[in-house]
């Protein structure tokens, strides 16, 4: 109780794990979409991004430079999506 034992590392998952939330927003299959990082220019499938911050939301980061590419949050009042870190998405 007095120490920070247990799971002491933050949860990092693959973008594929955010598919449930993202698929509530996108009409096309999102995990196989190609996303280009604005910061470093590399392109990856959304499913292979690093997923942080579950369960508050999905912060999807570039596996090369850690820049945040896309963030999605589900709230009782609607869903939020931020994709300013992505240069573009190709479906």
């Amino acid at each position: 109780m007095g120490t920070m034992t247990g799971n002491d590392s933050a949860l990092v998952l693959d973008g594929n794990a955010a598919a449930g939330l993202l698929q509530e927003i996108f009409v096309l299959e999102i995990t196989t979409a190609q996303i280009q990082c604005e910061a470093c220019g590399s392109t990856e499938a959304v499913g292979s991004l690093r997923l942080h911050a579950a369960p508050m939301g999905a912060v999807l980061r570039c596996p090369h430079c850690d820049a945040s590419l896309m963030t999605a949050v589900r709230t009782p009042h609607g869903r939020w999506l931020q994709i300013t870190g992505a240069r573009c998405l190709k479906f």
């Binding site: 002491d8 850690d66 945040s68 009782p76 009042h77 609607g78 939020w80 992505a86 998405l89």
Partner: protein
């Protein structure tokens, strides 16, 4: 259709604005599951929250459950800032009101507090002990009797931000903490130093804090720009923007 609009907006927006929340609000077309009445949501026979076993109702804000472990939640990878490279600054406009190295920060008056913390993801941890420097003592250290502006934005390693009114930092309500239960705060939990504002939801107690910037007008931080409540009072259950 939506994607083209978003894409266009991405091109037009200044990438530097990302921190200030160039987000796009997508209003869902159908009612959220949470407002469907209990009669429609199937109950899972025999399921109950494990956390219910230790409820202390009068100490818990609405919708919260007690946990004995300490879940870690981060919007990004854990920064690995070495103590010799660490500093904390108070900023007003273009200048720094004060800046402390680790040794200097540790030499400031220390305060220990025992209190409860509440995460917006519904877990609460009771009777947690933290040690660090109060916001009041930071102001004193830079020769200020009062905060120069009404709002503060906390800036952290890794880019995380969160906004707090100064009223919620003064009078002992806010601190920058370096120890948990007597031990240095673990990196994954925000070490070496995190902001500590326990009367608000714990996303406001920003991990890896490096700079407190005074603002004349309120600006939304990271989660506040993405659908979470701007203020975050757990006793009023202000989890999301619109609550």
């Amino acid at each position: 259709m939506i994607l083209r609009q978003l894409y266009g907006a991405c091109l037009l927006g200044n990438p530097e604005d990302a921190g200030n929340g160039a987000s796009f609000f997508v209003r869902s077309a159908t009612p959220e599951e949470s407002i469907i009445s209990m009669a429609q949501t199937p109950i899972s026979r025999g399921f109950r929250s494990r956390r219910q076993e230790q409820t202390s109702k009068d100490r818990l804000p609405p919708g919260q459950y007690v946990t004995t472990d300490f879940p870690v939640l981060s919007a990004g990878p854990t920064p690995q800032t070495k103590l010799e490279d660490w500093s904390l600054a108070l900023q007003l406009g273009g200048s720094l009101l004060g800046k402390w190295s680790w040794a200097e920060f540790e030499a400031l008056p220390q305060t220990t507090i025992k209190t409860d913390i509440h995460c917006v993801t519904k877990w609460s941890k009771l009777d947690t002990t933290w040690q660090g420097v109060t916001f009041d003592d930071l102001l004193t250290a830079v020769g200020l009797a009062e905060p120069p502006e009404p709002y503060v934005m906390a800036h952290c390693d890794g880019g995380y931000t969160t906004n707090v009114p100064v009223e919620d930092l003064v009078g002992g309500k806010g601190m920058v903490v370096t120890r948990y239960e007597g031990f240095p705060i673990a990196l994954a939990h925000g070490g070496p130093a995190r902001l500590f504002v326990p009367h608000l939801y714990f996303w406001k107690s920003a991990k890896w804090v490096r700079r407190l910037r005074f603002m004349e007008e309120d600006e939304r931080g990271f989660w506040e720009s993405l659908g979470y409540h701007n203020y975050g009072d757990p006793w009023k259950e202000q989890r999301y923007d619109g609550d």
